[in-house]
């Protein structure tokens, strides 16, 4: 049972474009929504995260938009660069004291062409 659905599976944009990756969740108890970025040969690393009490969060060129009523959230990359080419995973968890048990989406492979 997949609790976090991610789309698209892959995405190609030109340099300067704005790729958008979408995720939808089912469990209304989720209260933490991070995005992880993974480069080839490396483990994923936290990129940006949001809690459901806000509708948008920006960190540099990366923005999360969150729609609690629709149970959806998305990642936007402004002015994308070839160095942003990576696999992106959305995730969700329900806060528990002392640790988080993340449920990941299936990943989106992004290619930013020069």
């Amino acid at each position: 049972q997949q609790q976090v659905k991610q789309s698209p599976q892959s995405l190609i944009v030109q340099k300067g474009g704005i790729p958008i990756i979408n995720c939808a969740y089912e469990n209304t108890a989720f209260d933490y929504f991070p995005w992880y970025q993974q480069f080839p040969g490396k483990g994923p690393a936290l990129l940006i995260a949001i809690r459901p009490d806000v509708s948008e969060k920006k960190e540099g060129r990366f923005t999360i938009s969150f729609n609690k009523s629709a149970k959806q959230f998305s990642l936007h990359i402004m002015d994308s660069q070839p160095g942003d080419s990576a696999t992106y995973f959305c995730a969700a968890s329900r806060s528990r004291r002392g640790f988080q048990k993340l449920v990941f989406g299936t990943g989106t492979r992004l290619l930013v062409s020069p």
Partner: protein
């Protein structure tokens, strides 16, 4: 910087072998995790540990066990490897706080023939 080190980058084992995947973190993190990564399936949690000798099943624990005898080390054990356990295995650690970020190792690519 947090460093999570997985002992092997590539591993090839035969069906039925007992396989140990080792993971060490150097930041005194309370929590450690084992995920497997498969194309089209994302990352799926196998087991995690929130303290020494403490463990909890993740979403796909069947065919696996874990050991955490020391805080910095978390081992994943495949009791009798099968071909459907061919995968990329990722270890991660985090502080013992809600929503503390996961720090991943670079993975072990296991092939079971």
């Amino acid at each position: 910087d947090v460093k999570v080190t997985q002992s092997s980058r590539y591993l090839v084992k035969r069906t039925g072998e007992k396989v140990f995947l080792e993971c060490v973190q150097d930041m005194d993190h309370e929590n450690m995790f084992w995920y497997r990564q498969d194309p089209g399936l994302g990352l799926r949690l196998i087991y995690f540990s929130y303290d020494v000798k403490m463990k909890e099943k993740g979403d796909i624990p069947e065919g696996y066990s874990v050991s955490r005898e020391k805080k910095e080390r978390f081992s994943l054990i495949l009791e009798s490897a099968s071909t459907n356990q061919t995968s990329m295995y990722l270890c991660a650690s985090s502080l013992g706080q809600s929503n503390s970020p996961l720090h991943f190792g670079n993975g072990t690519r296991l092939t079971v023939t």
